[in-house]
Amino acid sequence: MNTCEDIQNELDAFLCDDIDELTKMEIREHLEDCPSCTRALQQHKRLSEVLQTWEEIEPSPNMYEQLVSRIRTPGLNWKAIFSNTFSRKTALRLAQVAVIVIITLLINSWLQKPLSVRREDQATINFFLQEHQGAVVQSISAELLSRPATHMYIGRDDILYFEYVEDHPKITQPGMILRGPKVKQQIALIKAPAIIKGRIIEKPQIHLSVNFDPLIPERLPNGYVLTSIRAIKNYNSLHLLYTKELDTVSLFQQSSHTQEGLSAQDFRDYAVYCSQEPDTDVNIKGRGTILAWSNSTIAFVLIGDADLSELMKMVPSINQYNK
């Protein structure tokens, strides 16, 4: 430490006595022979004197008591901490972030909501027989597989139809049951199901409208009467509409040997989305359940808003009639 710059850089430490004895001695020796550094030291001392004109303040007499009181009042502490730590704008930003996080969590939880809570565009599969459940779950997602239940809710894009065929060579039992929403208001159609495109025909025309030998039960049990027959355009299918007061049941028939008929998705769209029977005044709300089965020549689909037990009783009667 030989230069004046070195010495002057250490003057602060020298004045604070924050320096080792050897350096202190070097500075003292230098100051004895250096007017410039002596002047710098005097300037340091003078500056300290000037700064000291800003006098100290005395604490209020009750500061300690106030502190003790605050320490013993935990409810007030957090408020004080909050007000001292955050500005109002910071608090508002935090609140905004909190609201966004909460909304995100709510949306996330809603999206991940178990399928057991049904939405309007979902349908319920009710298994007619225990073994049907095993057959159906082969065709649906692994997530649904893990739900041991006698019914399940499925969304628009889930596989909805599985035709269970018993070993019996002639007649099969209903393969599966779909239940549409039990809503009483109109459900908007995303796209008109192919199933509603057709024309009303009379009984004598029925055999001319399709290339298979259809079955026309005169009446279904439990008071349902035939209201209309419709040939579904381009699908080689028939639609028989039965009504009982305000309840309706639709019986669809098509050949069980052709690929040109209506698909499971068509029936599903009809059951879930269609709410008004075309070309009639019959307002059909929430058709609900679908039963599907087939025999050696005809594939049947029964869709109705009657109770499930009623629909299930209709199936054997139709089969019986067929025999």
């Binding site: 300037q43 000037v50 700064l51 004109t53 303040i57 500061m63 300690y64 500005s87």
Partner: protein, 186 residues
Amino acid sequence: MLAYVNGDEIAFESLYHRYEKPILNFINRMLMNSTEAETHCQETFFRVVRAKNRYESTAPFKTWIYQIALNLCRDRVRRMKHRSHLSLNGQASFQTDENVSLRDTVSDSSANIEKQMEKHEMQGFVKKALASLSQDEHFVVTMKEYQGLKLSEIAGVMNCPVGTVKSHSHRAHQKLAKILAKYMKE
């Protein structure tokens, strides 16, 4: 402090009375507002109580409590700057002691009013000179000149090398000497 951490409430009272005035004046000189200083002084001790279990005996209590006070001052200054930016006229919205009139602070009964006024004027210049420093320079000068901390202790509070403290001190000294040149002649 260790006695207080171990449950000795009397030790805290003793600690409080030893550091109350230095911390109050440190904050007052950083914020230049005696009302704010009292509030933040209390907050400093409150945080000491709240964080007592996090106190490490390897660090001097003096360093620790000044760190807490310094952080509070920095937060406060940051908020005041923010408010100042928000203010249409660009002025900070809080009131400093500079706004207190001379009449309020000078005793009418004093025989040497002129001398008091001169002292008051010098004090005003000192405050303005300190206010012109950067926050770190202001802090180093306050700790060194008013609180009597050594450069190594200041480095501990600021958590930076001693060399950095010396640089801040050197620059602050040059600025202050220039601004206060009028008073530097004895």
